[in-house]
Amino acid sequence: MTTTDTPVDNGVNVAALLEAREALTAAPEAAQFQWRANCVWEHGTHSRSTIERFFGLGGEQQHKTTFSFDADHPEIFASEDHGATPVEIVLVGLASCLTAGVAAVAQNREIQLRSVSATLEGDMDIQGILGIDSDVRNGFSGIKVTYDIDADASADEIKAIVAQSQKRSAVYDIITNPTNVTVEVR
């Protein structure tokens, strides 16, 4: 029972999200989505991926524009560094997924955010990808995400927002749980 002078606005339309949740509960088939990317090899370790279309809500969907992502390796790997490394792009995916979640959860809990920033550190022993030591995995040995958040809320409320964001995050789930991957050649 408190009054709020200015309505909380983190720019997330929670009402629309909650409506969508209700609608998709009633029509679970519309909740079946497929996300897609296309990738073209450019030269050396440089490739360019584009994102344009996806499937969801029972039909083909399209982004407002086509998004393009260059990936490469840095010069210390004898590459030309035309873009972020693919593993860095994974960190980008995790960071942006969790941060979107922070905004949405805060909005739903009527907590005004003033600033949110995250630092991500993915540790990797590259003896794995270089095939030096078969006991070392290729991927990250661990990822550390550190948030700095300024908001109208207590420290525990802010921690609870970040925890809930992890609980509902797609990329967090993709990274923390195994996924079957099928790679074929046409």
Binding site: M1, T3, Q164, K167, D173
Partner: protein, 631 residues
């Protein structure tokens, strides 16, 4: 085929409590039980299990624990003998050794087929519980064959397992208890931990269940929580009942050497894969526990109890090692047994009435099964309140559902005697008039109004028969009331206080009785009676302020002044809430005025299970409608 009025399926504490309520209402019934009374407790639980709730909390309608250890926790033999004793006490008509093979809908009720013959009845109560089969994830099939698998329903004691390591999957009350005793037996345990709910056994000198009861958490109603689907899925509290009243949380397990891993996410090539989300699962449980303890501390301070209680404290955050293992080779020999403590599911394989949702659970509104008139459900998580799965939850739930069931039987009888269902628009209203006006013409809106009454109360209210002359007006009024309730965050209890004070000030017996009864169920008979009498004996300061204000608004709104509003502010209400409260009372005055002016008499069904003190406090207004036969 035998006939009765109600078939209750299951003679656990819930089915027996329902039997007692039906007997009190003179409703003929039978309780069908596949085994013996308290069968699940007898045959499907492990040896060392004790109730998670203290003895004083074993309260059933007509029987409360009366032994000499109110703070102890019953062993399984004690639970069985308590429920046996209850069955005898209430003279429940239990037919033992009768397995239900099908429940089918017919044109006038249900047929219940059993291995001992069939029963026909207009009403059926499903009291088979939430825990009929152990749930095991689909990937259990990928466990290497030389690793034994045991579910929590098959598990009895550690010695039943091979020597060697054990992977316990799941960390609710079951998982942590099994992990603890198996590890202590010398079989090193790895515990896979997903989402869980942490709680200390004792806090500030009192049992956590005492706290949850005192602060009203266990009484929280299903129609008052934000997301009922979510709370119905919550895992059980991580607690154990022991004579030492010990806290068994993850820290206690790891201190003894149990190894923690994340949620078991899959099994591939004989390797178990654990989620990397362990740290967040533990952080969430720690934060949630912190919020619960904050709420308890605030409540204790508000009630002036700090001096007599131990000081507040906070448990250590759950310790998680720097890099918990993400995989485990099940074929390597370190793990000899997997214990699945991954929850239970109800078994409705015999239920041939199409009432299941896509997850295989029954669709219902507080135990009134959707789209199946006369079918009721008991004992499911958060069925009507947070305590619905506890022994202590059966009393209130069966009281309300048996009242609904009685009303439904009466309504069905009215429908039959009129020879038609109330379905044809334009038809003369087969429900008799309830006041000075004639019967309203039937329409889709009137039908909806009546249907809502029947599904919510079990009968058509006299007020609805009056408002049937413009059912849309009542819809709009209800919408407006709902709006101010949400805007002002008015709880059920606060609404009960406002309505009973307002109605008694107006001399309106109808709302005084209807809400006096609801308030009595929520807050106690004497509480409700004291509001109706106007002495407010049992109310706290904030509740008194509400009652006083509602009476002022009802009696003489021109004589209020700023000091009256100040009193509400001092009671903790801000101006926006005071406005909502006032609009709420004013709308209730409008509703009462229409009912009273047009001669709606209180429904005779209200007399059913009406607390004497409440009835005595309503010595005003129009008398109850003539009972039993509204036509």
């Amino acid at each position: 085929m035998q006939s009765t009025t109600t078939v209750v399926i299951g003679a656990g504490h819930a089915g027996l409590a329902m039997s007692r309520q039906l007997t009190a209402r003179s409703i003929d019934h039978v309780v069908l039980e596949r085994g013996d009374v308290a069968n699940t407790w007898k045959t499907e639980r492990w040896d060392s299990l004790r109730l998670l709730t203290p003895n004083w909390q074993s309260r059933l309608p007509g029987l409360t624990y009366d032994g000499d250890d109110p703070d102890g926790y019953m062993t399984m033999p004690e639970v069985i003998s308590f429920i046996d004793r209850y069955a005898r006490l209430v003279s429940a008509p239990v037919q033992r050794g009768t397995t239900v093979t099908a429940v089918r809908a017919t044109s006038d009720g249900y047929v219940v087929d059993t291995d001992q013959g069939s029963w026909r009845a207009p009403t059926v109560v499903l009291a088979t519980g939430a825990c009929n089969v152990a749930h095991v994830p689909a990937f259990a099939g990928a466990v290497p064959p030389d690793v034994a698998q045991v579910t929590s329903m098959q598990y009895r004691r550690p010695q039943q397992l091979d020597d060697g390591g054990v992977l316990v999957v799941g960390a609710s009350a079951t998982g942590i208890q099994l992990a603890d005793e198996i590890h202590r037996s010398g079989r090193p345990v790895t515990l896979a931990v997903g989402a869980h709910v942490r709680a200390p056994r004792m806090y500030r000198g009192l049992d956590i269940q005492r706290w949850m009861d005192d602060i009203g958490l266990l009484d929280e109603r299903y129609d008052e929580v934000d997301d009922i689907t979510r709370v119905r899925r919550l895992p059980s509290l991580q607690i154990v009942g022991t004579p030492q009243r010990t806290t068994l949380d993850i820290n206690a397990l790891t201190a003894n050497g149990v190894r923690l891993v994340g949620r078991l996410a899959g099994i591939s090539d004989g390797k178990a894969q654990f989620s990397g989300s362990l740290r967040n699962a533990c952080a969430m449980a720690d934060l949630k526990l912190g919020r619960l303890l904050d709420t308890i501390d605030e409540w204790a301070t508000d009630h002036g109890l700090d001096a007599q209680l131990e000081p507040p404290w906070r448990p250590e955050p759950t310790g998680v090692e720097e890099s918990p293992p993400l995989g485990l080779d099940l074929a390597g020999g370190d793990i000899r047994t997997i214990v699945w403590a991954t929850g239970y599911r109800p078994d409705y394989s015999w239920l041939q009435v199409p009432v299941l949702d896509r997850k295989g659970l029954i669709r219902h509104d507080g135990g009134v099964v959707d789209d199946a008139p006369g079918l009721y459900l008991l004992g499911m998580p958060f069925l009507r309140r947070r305590k619905s799965t506890l022994i202590d939850g059966a009393g209130a739930d069966t009281n309300e559902l048996s009242s609904h069931l009685a009303g439904y039987l009466e309504q069905a009888a009215v429908g039959r005697s009129n020879g038609a269902r109330l379905t044809q628009p334009g038809q003369e209203n087969p429900s008799p008039p309830a006041g000075f006006l004639g019967a309203a013409t039937m329409s889709a809106d009137v039908q909806r109004l009546y249907d809502n009454d029947v599904s919510g109360m079990g009968y058509v209210m006299n007020t609805s028969r009056v408002w049937a002359h413009d059912a849309v007006a009542l819809d709009r009024l209800s919408e407006l009331l709902g709006h101010v309730v949400r805007t002002g965050s008015l709880t059920f209890r606060q609404r009960g206080i406002l309505i009973t004070s307002c109605a008694s000030a107006l001399g309106d017996s109808y709302c005084s009785l209807a809400w006096g009864k609801k308030l009595a169920a929520e807050a106690g008979d004497e509480f409700a009676a004291s509001v109706l009498r106007g002495d407010d004996g049992e109310l706290d300061e904030s509740e008194k302020a509400l009652a006083v204000w509602a009476r002022q608004v009802a009696r003489d709104p021109n004589n209020t002044d700023a000091s009256d509003v100040s009193r509400l502010r001092e009671a903790g209400f801000d101006d926006a809430t005071i406005f909502s409260i006032t609009v709420f009372v004013a709308l209730r005055i409008a509703f009462s005025t229409v009912n009273d002016a047009l001669g709606a008499r209180p429904d005779w069904q209200l007399a059913d299970a009406m607390p004497t003190s409440v009835r005595d406090a309503v010595a005003f207004g129009r008398p109850l409608a003539d009972g039993g036969d509204p036509s």
